[in-house]
């Protein structure tokens, strides 16, 4: 649909992308210590368990803008029609320091400030493939 790069789910990430396709944001959570991790790794970065058995847990999708940039040149295919677009660095409310990056769908005209509240939104970029983004709350 958009020509943007599509994620190829793997054994770990498949639950995340399945939930995203349903427009549900999930974050990997270590079954040993309960901490969230973005992105999941083979070892939990919090408790350092080598068997974290991450579980993708639905989260609120609410967060605060920590930084942003307006992208005016795309290095990946499929984004040219969207230029310029905004990327936001968002700290989710679920855990201090838990940060995601995505497009801000309000566009480059948004009057952004550090701390602005945002909420997750989803872009359907291919059949059965949705990518998390954000909107000003």
């Amino acid at each position: 649909m958009t020509g943007r790069p599509v994620p190829v789910p793997d054994e770990v990430s498949a639950p995340f992308w399945s939930a995203a396709a349903e427009h549900v944001l999930t974050v990997a959570r270590c079954r040993r210590c309960g901490a969230f991790t973005v992105p999941p790794d083979v070892v939990c970065p919090h408790c350092h368990s080598a068997d974290p058995a991450f579980e993708f847990t639905p989260v609120s999708g609410r967060g605060a803008v920590r930084s942003w940039t307006v992208v005016r040149q795309a290095f990946l295919p499929g984004f040219d029609a969207d230029l310029p677009f905004v990327l936001v660095d968002v700290e989710l409310v679920e855990e201090a320091g838990l940060r995601l990056i995505g497009r801000l769908l309000d566009g480059p005209g948004a009057d952004l400030h550090v701390g602005d509240p945002v909420v997750v939104a989803f872009e359907d970029i291919a059949p059965g493939v949705a990518v998390p983004a954000f909107e000003l709350a």
Binding site: P5, V6, T69, R72, P77, F79, L87, L100
Partner: protein, 399 residues
């Protein structure tokens, strides 16, 4: 690693060479590397067969996804040794962020530990055809699946986010950064072999440049080039018999991020905290403080890094952004007031000037033409004037 470096002052740089720096060289990168290595070894007064250690970092820092071809797009130490016709006993490559610094640490350790008598340290950088960071990927596997489909990709996006954070947190403006970039280019324009020779930049040109990833414009970025630089290191004892006055290594330091993030996600606090930790290690390792450094030559592959390095190397935190507002635009307080930023070398080519004194070659002293308007001379000569370092020249690698 803790405390003072046990081999401080026991390892020295005794020779160096660099190739021409071109957007695209008319010869293969491997050929440039072989020639440059031979020149550095000759500069040290040595023969190729005497070099028994080879160290480098061969990373091609492009996001374009090009396959690395040794001798063409990268040059590893093993490739270089083989093509020089030698079979060294010690070959090592640094992996990670901080390619030059990491290589220096490995080379110094090889000498200090007796693994090699003479180490050739090199860095070879290639500018592939096409846009440097453009990547035609249609499917994303592995760790990039968490960022690329969302549109977060490449080093410009990486640096733009902490740049925005910095400007808003500290009240700095792009006008302030213009002074850094213009000053760096002024110095680069003075270097005979610089890509920017006789091509200074004005504040207006910087401020008028189209934004790429706000607030980053092209002049905030280094420029991809073909080029090679090489250094020869040996023990302080062996250095006595070589032609150049040695540049002794007082210490080095490195650090890695403590928090796992998305690929290329470098929040400002992560950089500053990691940098401050690295700086503390460096001062302890080298046995000096910021007050001892006459000329910092910090990594400026993105202009923001100049501010960030000054933040963490300066000792006293500069995170009180009011300093930016209190001073005239473009005058970073510590850089101008106490650190002689005007003497920085322009180090756009990662393989060379960052570990060179602004004057060019180790041990040869600064030519008069590179004195500043007040007749001051940078780094090496300045250090020689200091009481505690009489007749010894120390290279402080603070990247």
């Amino acid at each position: 690693m803790s405390g003072r470096f046990a081999a401080a002052g026991k390892v020295a740089i005794v020779g160096h060479a660099h190739s021409q720096i071109r957007r695209r060289a008319d010869r293969p990168l491997g050929a440039l590397a072989v020639d440059t290595a031979r020149a550095a070894i000759a500069d040290a007064g040595l023969r190729v067969e005497q070099v028994d250690g080879f160290v480098s970092s061969s990373l091609l820092p492009s996001a374009g996804g090009q396959g690395a071809e040794d001798g063409v797009s990268i040059v590893s130490s093993a490739w270089l040794a083989q093509h020089l016709g030698v079979n060294p006993g010690y070959v090592a490559g640094f992996e990670g962020i901080g390619q030059i610094t990491g290589s220096v640490g490995i080379a110094v350790n090889a000498i200090a530990g007796g693994a090699a008598d003479y180490v050739l340290l090199h860095r070879a950088l290639h500018n592939p055809a096409g846009a440097y960071h453009a990547n035609p990927m249609r499917e994303v596997r592995g760790v990039q699946q968490w960022t690329a489909p969302q549109g977060f990709f490449g080093p410009l996006a990486m640096i733009a986010l902490p740049f925005t954070e910095y400007l808003h947190r500290f009240g700095a403006r792009r006008e302030s950064m213009a002074a850094v970039v213009v000053e760096a280019r002024k110095n680069g324009a003075r270097v005979p072999w610089s890509f920017w020779r006789d091509r200074p930049l004005t504040t207006e040109e910087y401020l008028d440049a189209p934004s790429l990833f706000d607030p980053v414009c092209r002049y905030d970025c280094d420029i991809p080039v073909d080029g090679v630089a090489a250094f020869v290191l040996t023990s302080a004892e062996r250095a006595k018999d070589l032609p150049h006055r040695p540049v002794y290594v007082a210490g080095y330091a490195a650090g890695t991020p403590t928090r796992r993030r998305l690929p290329l996600h470098w929040p400002l606090d992560d950089i500053l905290d990691g940098g401050a930790h690295t700086a503390r290690r460096l001062w302890e390792h080298a046995g000096i403080t910021a007050a001892d450094v006459d000329l910092p030559q910090v990594y400026d592959g993105f202009s923001l890094f100049v501010w960030l390095w000054l933040e963490v190397l300066g000792g006293a935190p500069l995170r009180r952004g009011r300093r930016h507002r209190q001073r005239s635009p473009g005058r970073h307080p510590r850089a101008v007031g106490r650190r002689r930023a005007g003497q920085w070398a322009h180090a756009r080519h990662p393989a060379d000037a960052r570990v060179l004194p602004a004057t060019g070659a180790p041990g040869r002293g600064p030519p008069a033409r590179q004195r500043d308007d007040r007749g001051r001379v940078p780094f090496l000569a300045a250090l020689r004037r200091r009481g505690g370092l009489q007749r010894r020249t120390h290279l402080r690698v603070v990247l």
